[in-house]
Symmetry: C2
Amino acid sequence: MDQFVIKTRVVGVDIGIDTTTFAIVDVRGNIIAEDAFPTTDYPEISGFIAKLSDSILVLVEENGGYESIRAVGISSPSANSRTMCLENAANLPWKGIIPLATMLRDRLGLAVALVNNAHATALSEHVYGNAHGMNNFILLTLGHGLGSCFFSNGVVHLGADGFAGEVGHTCFKLGGRLCGCGKRGCLEAYTASKGIVKTAQRLLEETDAPSLMREQERLSPSVISKLCDKGDELAIEVYRRTGDILGAGLAIYASVVDPEAIIFTGGVAKAGKWLLEPTQESFEKHVFHSVRGKVQFLTSAIDEQVRTILGAAVLAWEVKEYSLFK
Amino acid sequence: MDQFVIKTRVVGVDIGIDTTTFAIVDVRGNIIAEDAFPTTDYPEISGFIAKLSDSILVLVEENGGYESIRAVGISSPSANSRTMCLENAANLPWKGIIPLATMLRDRLGLAVALVNNAHATALSEHVYGNAHGMNNFILLTLGHGLGSCFFSNGVVHLGADGFAGEVGHTCFKLGGRLCGCGKRGCLEAYTASKGIVKTAQRLLEETDAPSLMREQERLSPSVISKLCDKGDELAIEVYRRTGDILGAGLAIYASVVDPEAIIFTGGVAKAGKWLLEPTQESFEKHVFHSVRGKVQFLTSAIDEQVRTILGAAVLAWEVKEYSLFK
């Protein structure tokens, strides 16, 4: 009766720009075992796939065996869940269209599914986090960039080609700041890491008021939020200006989607109240009255080290089990 | 075996600000019979419900009988499909929260469902029109106001409280034109009827260039588009400016939703190419590259007289049949 072994575990993989982390996850979202290796050691995709599949097999053999694994879920930047490919990844070594899920499936003999980071984080929050039970919510990943994902009727809204949620590259100020994507005035150019630092630099040029920001070797969102904690007025003003724009942008998003909540994740979201309070204030001012006062502003309840891995694991449970004979 | 009569028809109702129209619709979307009465004759909701149910019963008795009708679908401004109520309708005589579906159901003994105009139009296009087979698309109703609805994964995205799609009241220009909703800079304030006339008036003040618009007793979007047909440069410029703003606004919408198509309906959409060409040009300029060049700009394929009635009928088919004994 060996063929009827119940498979109670999946593997979740998080491909990061620097590090690839992977873990065996059980049906309750417990991490059974995990390991990692440097993504940057594998400039060729074939080498990366070989390393990833070998590493997964080693971890699996040491922890319950291959037979206990149902499927593999992967979270990666630039992943497209409609095609199960990496598509023109700007920050990974492998260029063009990479059929990552198929490549790994063929080597492992397990079903493999792929999502981008924002989708993985949203799946994670929906099943194990603050969005549990919510059918319509927006999740933001705010760090080096501004990504997002929203749930519609209880499932991820992927859009026609899997590119939904690109709120970071919505043109918010005609003729505004130049964004990394080549357009001007994108929301990301004001609210992600570099944009916040630029806002700080401009503010320091505008005024002679004293600020501890002037004494920093290198400004970053986390440095600025630490100065907010110390009561630095100009640092607080940086987040106030950022929140003003982010809130107005999210008001557009929420007027269209009508979510129960907006969940903030990512490095910049760690600024907490310094960012969220002005963002919510601006949001309520700009949002249409039918949505006003109804949208919860939340941060994540899940440890950021495992957030995307758990999301990838959630996806793995949704995949049909793989068999050459089916 | 009378209880097993197969019910092959539904009733679709369109509550308009001036006129309420209703029709018997078969499974292929054919209008079997229809009738109408003035909405404005019934300032009290109880009188309106009595008139509507009596009129439906008369039409039904003359055309196949009560037993052939499965359910009733209603399209109305300010209808909320989450609550099946009219909610604070600005343009109808009945104020507050009106449980319209329940009231009509109790009087007719038939299941009744309710959607707003934009949702009804989207359902209609999805089943019988240009969005047939599309799982992710945006539908715009552009006339006195700017409403919208989008499909996610093949179904209407209602949002947490049924208020999704309010793109007309997204703040597009901080501190911009005053909108009817009380906010400033709403997309509707630039792109719906009154906004277009305002743009025309400002343009006529800005310049001394000749234009047939100066000779009109009353400007309206349809008058202006007729002058475009005659080659009036300033009239063409009015729609170009309108399209510039509408395209940039829709670029935000599409970056978030990633639709297969945007379908334009409503009186203002009748301007056709004069509006759609500059809108699409501005759209492609502002939209994120992952969506650029992929979104079709379409008008409706369905006669506007029956569009919302057909949509209401589509909804009626989705409703569970009503019986006191189930």
